[in-house]
Amino acid sequence: MTKADTIFKEFREHSVAEFFKKNRQMLGYSGKIRSLTTIVHEYVTNGLDACEEAGILPDIYVRIEQLGNEHYRVTVQDNGPGIPKTHVGKVFAQMLAGTKFHRFIQQRGQQGIGASGCTMYSQITTGKPTKIVTSPQKGKIYECEVMFDVKRNRPLISGEVEYPGDMQGTKIIAEFKDVTFNWSDYGPAEYLRRTAVANPHAKITFVAPDKQRFVYERAVHVLPKKPKPSKPHPKGITVDDLLDYAHHAKARTIKSFLTQTFDRMSSAKADEIEKLTSIDFKRKPDSVTWRDAEEIVDAIKKTKFLAPNTSNLYPMGEKQIEKAILNVLEPEFHAVRTRSPSVYRGGVPFIVEVGIAYGGKAGKGNGDSAKTEVMRFANRAPLLFDAGGDVITKVVNEIDWKRYGMRKLDDVPATIIVNVTSTYIPYTSAGKQAIADIDEIHKEVALALMEVGRSVGSYIRREARKGEKQAKRKTLLKYVPEVAGAVAKLTGDSKKELEVKLLDMINRKYAAGQMGDGPEEERDG
């Protein structure tokens, strides 16, 4: 064995564990609370995706048990299609093996670290394997324990058992140390609450370490449509991307490469671009040089294109957001809005959806001490961290909420929900917890929030007016017996008669149905 071989061997032996350890911050394993949230997120996301792909309405069960100081057991079970025996190892113990990597498609998950990251984290903190129970076939249950074989960088499966039984889906049981559970906005409980808001088609059950049980019932009985992969829009392309695409293209000419690869690139458009460049579009695409690519990108900038095809974007939709809000937050009032698709950087389509829930269980805390909370979502996945750098936070802080009847935004029992749907979410960092402040997205979020703000504003003002009228009515009502009694004493009239007349007068002026405020019914019991 040569010296180089030895070095290389050493390197490989440690690579996976080293890679994980060095990059754990980037991958969501920074901090004890965040790590636990990341674990829950990875398992739940896998469960939701598996169910949706198989056309099953998800029913996700999550349990967190405390075993010791900073030592927890996490159990997540879904009702999905199960995992074939041969795939279990890949899913749970192979890094960067995901199927979602680098596709131009709207997706929920993170990079291909996912469940394997959890297995690794469990292994390096407890030395224990992750237990999987799954039923890929009706009536059959397969059970095993998974670890990383660090030396060979591949899954190590042990304790395999197969037996007949009734089960649907997959159950994962894993232990973790160096993690903490708490009830903060960054903890697993809040993560699941927000996941429930963004996924009203799923039933989510959560059992906390103190045995408290939270059940978010299914509010929508239809699965969301499956997103389809789409072609990129020319306006969003960079020189490097273009070169990359061109060199991997199967087309015979540059022209056909362009029309086949890009959205909205008609043959006429390709000709138009050709005229703006010195390049012969009959050349083979793999002959494109960096300079050529620059020329083409420049020409694209000067050319007008139809807006990107947005049929591959699947927002939650106003009805679903509404149902989710009603289901989880039970507000007094809510308003939702899904904006029309828009485009940033000229070529990436996105849709902004917002909802505001006011009163009820909306907001942080309860009753009079309730404070406003902002729930951020990217393609339905809750974003819990890095709120400060997020475009949504910035816009929420910029809006003059006083105009919408919310004097001090912090002290209002309201939940503001913003979901950005896109084939490519521009995150501020690899942690994928904050959406970058891009002008077009900023503007769309602002417009959407102002629209729902107006609805909430008029509701709050209407309620305030009603409250005032009620207060006036009550003030007058309490004096009626006194006035009627005194006048009756002076005149000898019947006190009762005067009372009835006065009550009638007050009711005519202030009572229900006489507000002229539209169809809204009086709530007063």
Binding site: K472, T475, L476, K478, Y479, P481, E482, V483, A484, G485, A486, V487, A488, K489, L490, T491, D493, E497, L498, K501, L502, D504, M505, I506, K509
Partner: protein, 367 residues
């Protein structure tokens, strides 16, 4: 209906209160918001009538409506006071104090934590409202104001059937009641009435038998004159044509006591014609007296608030006489004020033997 000893005035007041109730009841039955009008009592609606030399209420009225939330409570209280005053006082021939009325009316409104009246300061103005609205005196509503003030002199009166001789009441004199409407003057023998602000000066003059020597009526208001004192001075002066001289400290507060006795007060502008005695004269203590009698060493330095008040008085239309303007200017300029007691610096009997006889003899008064 009035039950016992109902005077014609009682009958009139009783029916005025009933009328108010009937108007309100009528509006209620017709489904109209019940409301009543009354003259505005703020400064903007108080005018000085040059001809009558009296403060008067102007013609501005305000409407108090039950259906207006801002008025509702006061409306309720007005009705409570009106009904109680008519039923319990006027018709029963009973007179009582404002404080009694407050306790009689105060109770918790059923189903609330609110009282019909919380403080006496809430029920007192309601009485004034009814006075102005119905043009009746508080005393005619059988409600007494503060009792303050005493009087001595060669006067015999009949009060509630008793004959009282003001010259035979020893050191105390006759205590002036709140309601002097029904007092009957049997005999009045006096050249003038001397109304003194301070009780101490009254005691001095009474002990020195000043009123016997001078053949006058001696009266003290013991501070700002109560309604009884003002009405009594008014009746004596008007009904028996006895001049009225006012003797107060030489400062803005003394001048205002004079002002209220002569022209009427802003609070009670609606009854100036009965409480104000427009031919009253200001005897002293004047700034000129201080110079003339050499009292300069016994003056007190005027405080900012004294000067401020003096400047206010200087602007009042009823203080525009040149004599008063001079008097006020002197005080503002010298920044000095003097109490009646300053005269004692010249000897305890100086006031009885020298000062008053000289002033009255020379008719050295301010108008």
């Amino acid at each position: 209906m009035p039950k016992k000893k109902a005077t014609p005035k009682d009958k009139e007041v009783s029916s005025k209160l009933t009328e108010l109730g009937k108007e309100i009841a009528e509006e209620i039955k017709e489904g109209k918001p019940p409301a009543f009008k009354m003259p505005v009592r703020s400064l903007s609606n108080i005018h000085f009538n040059e001809k009558k030399q009296q403060l008067e209420l102007g013609k501005t009225y305000s409407k108090r409506s039950f259906m207006n939330v801002a008025h509702a409570r006061k409306f309720m209280q007005t009705m409570l006071v009106a009904a109680w005053v008519r039923n319990e006082l006027v018709d029963e021939g009973i007179t009582t104090s404002l404080r009694d009325m407050y306790y009689a009316l105060k109770r918790t409104i059923p189903g609330t934590k609110e009282n019909t009246v919380e403080e006496q300061s809430e029920s007192d103005p309601i009485v004034v409202d009814i006075e102005t609205m119905l043009d009746v005196l508080r005393e005619e509503l059988h409600l007494n104001a503060d009792v303050r003030g005493r009087v001595v002199g060669n006067v015999v009166i009949k009060d509630r059937g008793d004959t009282v001789d003001w010259s035979k009441l020893g050191s105390g004199g006759w205590s002036i009641p709140s309601n002097v409407e029904n007092i009957e003057f049997k005999s009045v023998d006096a050249d003038y009435i001397l109304l003194i602000e301070k009780n101490a000066a009254f005691e001095r003059l009474h002990e020195d038998k000043f009123w016997v020597d001078q053949n006058c009526i001696l009266m003290t208001s013991q501070g700002q004159a109560a309604r009884g004192v003002r009405r009594l001075a008014n009746r004596l002066s008007v009904e028996h044509k006895v001049p009225l001289y006012i003797f107060t400290d030489g400062d803005a507060y003394g001048w205002y006591i004079y002002s209220v006795i002569k022209w009427g007060s802003m609070n009670l502008a609606h009854v100036s014609n009965r409480l104000g005695t427009s031919n009253a004269k200001f005897l002293g203590l004047t700034m000129t007296d201080i110079e003339h009698y050499g009292l300069d060493n016994y003056t007190i330095k005027a405080k900012d608030i004294d000067l401020k008040r003096a400047r206010e008085l200087k602007e009042y239309p009823w203080f525009q006489a040149p004599e008063w303007q001079r008097e006020i200017d002197k005080m503002i300029k010298s920044k000095k004020k003097a109490e009646l007691e300053a005269l004692s610096s010249k000897g305890l009997r100086f006031i009885t033997e020298t000062y008053l006889p000289e002033k009255i003899g020379k008719k050295d008064f301010l108008p």
